[in-house]
Symmetry: C2
Subunit: 426 residues, 2 copies
């Protein structure tokens, strides 16, 4: 049977995530070192704390940990999230909060509730692939805005908006990852955050602020003052703020949340009812217990130290092995290093050399909505050990030299030179 | 701010689930007895087995239990599901299997991958509300087919199909719950199942077979031969089969699955990537361990005995208290008893009397796509204890007498009489 005629228009446009594909490749290979998936380090997981929480909950026959629960989220967890939000300078009420089955579900629900086919959504160039697919799956038209060294470029934003308005197009929302963006690791400056709010008010669009990495700043180059959410200054109610426990606790418990004006949350909750009824009860129970007992708070400093050490290891190795041919903005937090390739080098070609050398990354094109990105790659330093990072960068350096050699033989490049990635204005 | 202008067309049509609303009411009230939500009995949960599994997994630092995992599902679980399917007479391969975040997510993904706005989907009258909302949220046009005492009415199916074809409409799929349907508890007869496959082939539509209750037959009136899935005889590849561990283990682990032709599963998997990346790793790990260690197999006989006892308690109390005014098809498995009200009595009015008497049910209209159902209610006997079932039916009987008295005072009914529920042909 041929099922083509049964697929919806949305399904016909659905593409497999390039990152997930790479992730699968990484999980299969023998002695592959993968910088591809944005997986946290399992050494950071609070194993013993989870064991104690689960043992107590099962012993107490905590029915709320195994039964269906409210779509809005497990009551005590929703309350506790209010505390996290307050610490991030975002006062919120329970009717402005929705627990989601990971932050990805939040993006999916937002897409379904706010986007009709053909609607214009603004995104950064490059941006998180999961957002691209969530919004593309409801047939949005994604329009990219370039970034500078401190995040989204306001001049380009103005130009893009002017172009769209001239064409009679309405913008539904701007999607941004202000803190240690996936994939670039960039941080949007404080003034820019306020300017985005002003632009949203001026042109009547919403802002979807995705903040999974805000707690993971590297204290040698950033601090909590740098990560103040856009939502903290949202007096008008234009910002939908998303966050997650995937990076601060574990991703295998699928628990994220969003905070937004109550009228939006009410609709998103109805959409969630039909999407999965409710988020996993055991997952929510464990997360709440971690919040209550201080486990979550204790993770912050531990994770910041762990990932800072790994990023330093990667940067050190990169400078030593590849400093003359690659360039990258210094990651100030998060999981990722975003590297520009030598002029003329295609990330897809480099990836073939890298696979031959048993190292993986994600090619830049996965993150662009305008077809750019062939001259960039995303490296995640979060999961591998320091020793594996060093070994992986050495392999990558060999792969880059292989690719450069091939290029030179083809006359495609005269010696190595550093160029900017398309879409990065500086 | 007014957010109305930001909502998508899909969002504008989204309605809160009547059952979830009732569920919330039930969880708030003091000494309410709720027959409303289809929640399993927490006394059936394998608490100690879960405790042992979690303790072992955390102690062994099982990274796959807390990390991101494959969108398709945790490998060992996908393999094990193949065994469950074989026992249900459905040979399946791993590329025909997708683990979902509860069976509800399967319905949601199917809606997104197979339905464009305005597409015709056939459903039973009445049918599961979660399917109604999942398909309505992608703007399907749901068309109802009546049921008889052994499930969907083939004559009405033919008539509905003929009417649609005459109007030039194409049917995408038929959604059915063949085993102990939610809400009616009905079982589709063996011959009818084969006839549905023939109809699907003749008119070129797919069948979405939802089977969460098949294991929960009551051995005094049904057996495994009665629950053989439609998919077991699907030689053409027209059936998408869904099932779940929510009723056989616990609902708080959000783990369901679907089996379908590989080409459909590939597309559903891509849709799932953007919906929630992957199903919870800890949930899948626990479910798999329950399968491996025989916990799941041991649940079957326990659950059948438990729910049979509860259904007998409810039927016994109903016959004693309400046998002269209500009628219902005998549930042969599952969680639900579907009762027809006396002529002229409106379920919504009865519900007000019931709430005053501190007992809850779900009104019939929640399950109909054609506006019918005012003369019926769904009672779930799964969660309350036998004592609470008896007490709840006594309260319900008082409420019915209250409602009958009010009706008689209005001259709306001359004594009680039993009538069929709209949509039930027998």
């Amino acid at each position: 049977m041929n099922y083509q005629s049964f697929f919806s228009r949305a399904a016909s446009g659905m593409q497999e995530s390039a990152i997930r594909k790479m992730g699968m490749l990484g999980s299969r290979g023998s002695d592959l070192i993968s910088f591809a998936p944005g997986y946290p380090d399992p050494a950071s997981f609070p194993w013993d704390e989870f064991a104690a929480i689960a043992a107590d909950g099962f012993k107490a026959r905590e029915a709320s940990a195994l039964q269906y629960g409210p779509t809005r989220g497990y009551g005590p967890l929703v309350e506790a999230i209010g505390g996290v939000m307050a610490a991030r300078h975002i006062p919120s009420k329970t009717d402005e909060t929705l627990v989601t089955t990971g932050s990805q579900q939040g993006l999916d629900l937002i897409g379904r509730v706010l986007i009709d086919p053909g609607d214009v959504i603004l995104v950064e160039l490059p941006t998180y692939t999961g957002a691209i697919t969530a919004f593309t799956n409801v047939q949005a038209q994604l329009v990219g805005v370039r970034q500078g060294s401190d995040g989204i470029d306001l001049d380009d934003l103005d130009a893009v908006i002017a172009g769209l308005r001239a064409a009679g197009r309405r913008i539904r929302f701007l999607y941004v990852v202000p803190n240690f963006q996936n994939p670039t690791g960039l941080l949007i400056g404080r003034e820019k955050r306020l300017a985005l709010l002003a632009a949203a008010a001026r042109h009547d669009f919403l802002i979807v602020e995705d903040d999974p990495y805000g707690e993971l700043y590297f204290s040698d180059v950033a601090g909590p003052a740098d990560t103040r959410p856009i939502k903290a200054d949202d007096s008008e109610g234009r910002v939908i703020y998303l966050s997650s426990f995937s990076k601060t606790l574990v991703p295998g418990l699928r628990v994220g949340w969003l905070v937004a004006p109550a009228a939006l949350v009410a609709k998103l909750e109805i959409a969630k009812q039909a999407a999965d009824i409710c988020t996993g009860a055991l997952d929510q129970y464990i997360v709440w217990q971690c919040m209550k007992s201080g486990v979550l708070d204790a993770q912050g400093p531990r994770l910041r130290a762990l990932y800072q050490q790994k990023r330093l290891a990667m940067e050190h190795a990169m400078r030593r092995e590849l400093g003359d041919v690659l360039s990258w903005p210094e990651p100030r937090g998060g999981f990722f290093l975003w590297a520009s390739l030598p002029s003329g080098m295609d990330a897809e070609v480099l990836l073939e050399h890298a696979i031959a050398r048993r190292v993986l990354f994600v090619i830049g094109t996965a993150f662009y909505v305008d077809g750019a990105g062939r001259g960039a790659m995303r490296l995640s330093f979060a999961q591998p050990s320091v020793a594996r990072i060093e070994e992986g960068v050495e392999r990558l350096a060999t792969a880059v030299r292989d690719a450069l050699g091939a290029l030179e033989r083809q006359g495609g490049v005269k010696g190595a030179s550093i160029v900017s990635v398309p879409g990065m204005t500086s």
